[in-house]
Symmetry: C2
Subunit: 161 residues, 2 copies
DNA sequence: AGCGAAAAGGTGTATGTCCACGTATTTTCT
DNA sequence: AGAAAATACGTGGACATACACCTTTTCGCT
């Protein structure tokens, strides 16, 4: 029994109906799924997922940051970061140190083993990135990346903590 | 102890180093997190998440599809769809029917209760969408959506099943 | 008819994501 | 100093995502 509270006989893209393809959030999530699968598959032999590679790379670029600072840089919920750090800590890729001046803080440090994993994954990442650029066009990819980073840092009025 | 296998004293955006901000996958995931939080918060009083709203809307637009067909339309892994349907089934918003000709198939049907939930959420979705468009500019939002849908449907060589 | 390949779908596990809530520590105010 | 507020962070639960593996059913071929 298919419910029909709107006239489904006419195309749903008609004025006022708003098909799913109009939803920016659906579009970004669908694209995310496709792109993440591609990058994760490219990185698979390294044992790192793209999220983990992102975290290790950020910590390499800016080591010794607190959880809050790192989460902000990653545009990631603080508690999400806590969960995501667990497997990386268990593998010995990252370590947490209590802050010197403020003992509430946890400073995230990259270990030598973590840096090795990052370097190995970086080679695989490069291949994926180049292949993606070739698929969609390098210029378009750069423009898209720029637009996405802008959206990522746009304050949409989400109450964060 | 901060590992340093590259000269971190010079800017990591220098040639050959590839900072995290160059990663298209990180950019799309970061933007996804920000945008999803915004839409989910807007939909929260409806009891639906944006993923659930997307599924209900797709089933409304194209009812009676099989799992494979629906997963393809949603650019979602088949097994992810299976998991995502569970809470919607338990709430009585969707029903699965064994296929008439092929008993392996499951046809996904929207229930009247599911359509009610969809309609209620749609009003909240509209507000979020309009507010997003106002934030980033309607033209830019439309172009971004279009580009993201194209990326979502680009064959990047991911082996699906 | 019967057998092996292919297709449709579910389950289990691990990670990713975020909210509500709780704990420990620091800061602020009186 | 001491209480209250603010801050930094963790935990538990629910949904989101995808891979490896499994079962059921259908198809293709002899």
């Amino acid at each position: 029994m298919q419910a029909r509270s709107e006239k489904a006989s006419r195309k749903s893209s008609a004025a006022g109906v708003a098909p799913l393809s109009d939803c920016t959030c659906f579009a970004i999530r669908a694209a995310m799924r496709n792109v993440t699968q591609f990058y994760d598959e490219a990185l698979s032999s390294s044992g790192l997922r793209i999220t983990q590679y992102s975290i290790l790379t950020r910590v390499f670029e800016r080591g010794g940051l607190t959880m809050n600072e790192l989460a902000d840089l990653l545009v990631m919920d603080r508690t999400t970061l806590t969960h995501n750090l667990r497997p990386l800590q268990q593998q010995g890729f990252l370590e947490l140190a209590v802050g010197d001046e403020d003992r509430r803080q946890r400073r995230v440090m990259l270990t030598p083993a973590g840096d090795e994993a990052r370097l190995a994954a970086r080679e695989l990442w490069k291949v994926a990135q180049e292949r993606f650029d070739a698929k969609v066009g390098a210029d378009h990819a750069r423009a898209l990346r720029s637009a996405l980073l802008a959206v990522a840092h746009t304050d949409l009025g989400v109450s964060r903590d």
